[in-house]
Amino acid sequence: MIATRPYRFRLEPYIEFAKKAIARESTYRFEVFTSIGSFVVRVYLLRMVWTALYARNAAPEGLPLHAIITYSTVALLMGLVLDIDQTRLLHDHLHDGTIATDFMKPINVPLYFFSDGTGEVLFHAALIFPAILLSLFLVHIDVPSAFVLVMFLISFILGYFVGFFINFILNCIAFWTLEISAAQLILTWVTDLFGGELFPLVFFPLAVQNIIFALPFAAMFSTPLLIYVGQIRPERYAEVIGVQVAWVVVLAGASWVMWRFGARRVVVQGG
């Protein structure tokens, strides 16, 4: 009689999941070219738009033309990594019923999806390097001090996690309704508008700025970007990073709750 080994948590399978995701994404060569292509075109477009806008109007305080062009370009670079549906696999598996077999395996299922998403993101993150090179042909990007850069990266990573959990929660809706593509697209546009990817949130009328900065979307793009271009000064770093951390915790908690309810539904209803 063969003795089965007891379940122990190992990191190895999750690393494999991430590697598999990277391999999968790299087969979509066409998509890679089009995403870099559209990135380059957008960098150009935004440069022309801001140049035209700054030509006949007064520049806002603290944001001269070169700063806003930097803002837009770095935002687009961030977008290469942030604008991905990281937990798409969760939705797909719910859709085609594979989730049932996922639960039968000796793995932590949400961690599985997280690993897959991480792999996908890492692949896209690699695209940042050629993207930066290409954008240098079109625009000049300001480079801040090393300290600011490090704070930017910390804020960026926190912003990534905010986006990840929002994405996870959204894909969890598929436990109940399956047809979520419209909700997802709505969320994308809402994130665009209030996330700070398209333009600095300080352009919003003062009256609504308080609300907008309180939303989690601002934590995704706006906070890191404003740190980068110096609109958020070092004195406020603790405050804004704190807000980001708070959102990460809240959204992580919400994700955990969504998952528990959703997973129970699968087990009870059979998927």
Binding site: F30, T34, A52, R56, L193
Partner: protein, 271 residues
């Protein structure tokens, strides 16, 4: 009336009858897509409004002008999406063998593609028409006889330009099979570039938007004409905007020739 024409009219009537019935049956779907379309266009317009409230003039165009500009583009685009959007399914048909079925039926292949029963919602068209009426009033454009006569033709011309683009992308599927990424990017770029007056772009891009991918004729030139803008950014009078219907017919015809070329190759080379 030849048998073919009679058949096409019959099929077209049947197709719309099915569409109406399906739309009425899936009412919740309709509302959801209405919401999505509203947010998609709404966030673009909202972003424009926010930015232009801080930078009132863009090369002499203010928010009222740009609202009209967007509305004019949206009309042509929505018209295309309501009547011709099914062309975007051609790559899928090729992949799953449905296209072979099209080749076995006694009707023009493009016509069959356009009349594949599916869910077409008039939400975008309704939204576009409402916004257009609003923008016409809001921008203060003069609504004379010329306006009333030409605008419908210009909108149809715009739809034909979009049709040409859709058709060309669908034709590339005969070679590359999977073209979703291309389709998505072209759509995004179309929406982003037509949002602004082309006079802000560099010369090369202006020429491309006028003579290669004639998006500038979808909304920019006609809008410039009706809004009495004197400088179009090219050595062309804004009155060329009245040629949009003609341009639409020309590019659609060229695209159709390319489609037939691709079709012949598909039948010669196999799949």
């Amino acid at each position: 009336m030849s048998s073919t024409t009679r058949r096409m009219i019959g099929v077209y009537r049947q197709y719309w009858r099915i569409n109406v019935l399906t739309t009425l049956e899936y009412r919740e779907n309709f509302l959801m897509w209405f919401g999505f379309t509203f947010v998609y266009h709404g966030s673009a317009i909202a972003a424009l409004w926010v930015v232009l409230s801080r930078f009132p003039s863009m090369n002499g165009w203010d928010f009222r002008d740009m609202a009209f500009l967007y509305a004019l583009w949206m009309m042509g685009h929505a018209l295309h999406n309501t009547f011709f959007a099914a062309i975007g399914d051609v790559p899928e048909h090729i992949q799953d063998g449905e296209f072979d079925r099209i080749l076995v039926r006694p009707l023009n292949e493009l016509f069959q593609t356009i009349t594949m029963p599916g869910q077409i919602f008039p939400d975008e068209l309704i939204l576009a028409a409402s916004f257009f009426v609003f923008a016409t009033w809001y921008s203060g454009v003069h609504v004379g006889l010329l306006f009333i006569v030409m605008v419908p033709l210009i909108v149809i011309g715009g739809a034909l330009i979009d049709l040409a683009i859709s058709l060309v992308i669908a034709t590339t599927a005969f070679w590359f099979i999977r073209v979703d990424a291309l389709r998505w990017i072209v759509l995004q770029l179309e929406q982003e570039f037509t949002r602004y007056p082309i006079s802000i772009y560099s010369r090369g891009v202006k020429l491309m938007l006028a003579f290669v991918f004639p998006f500038a004729f979808m909304n920019y030139f006609p809008a410039a004409f009706f809004l009495h803008k004197t400088d179009t950014g090219l050595a062309l009078p804004a009155a060329v905007g009245l040629l949009t219907p003609l341009i639409g017919v020309v590019v659609a015809t060229l695209a159709y020739i390319f489609w037939r070329f691709g079709l012949n190759r598909y039948q010669g080379v196999g799949h």
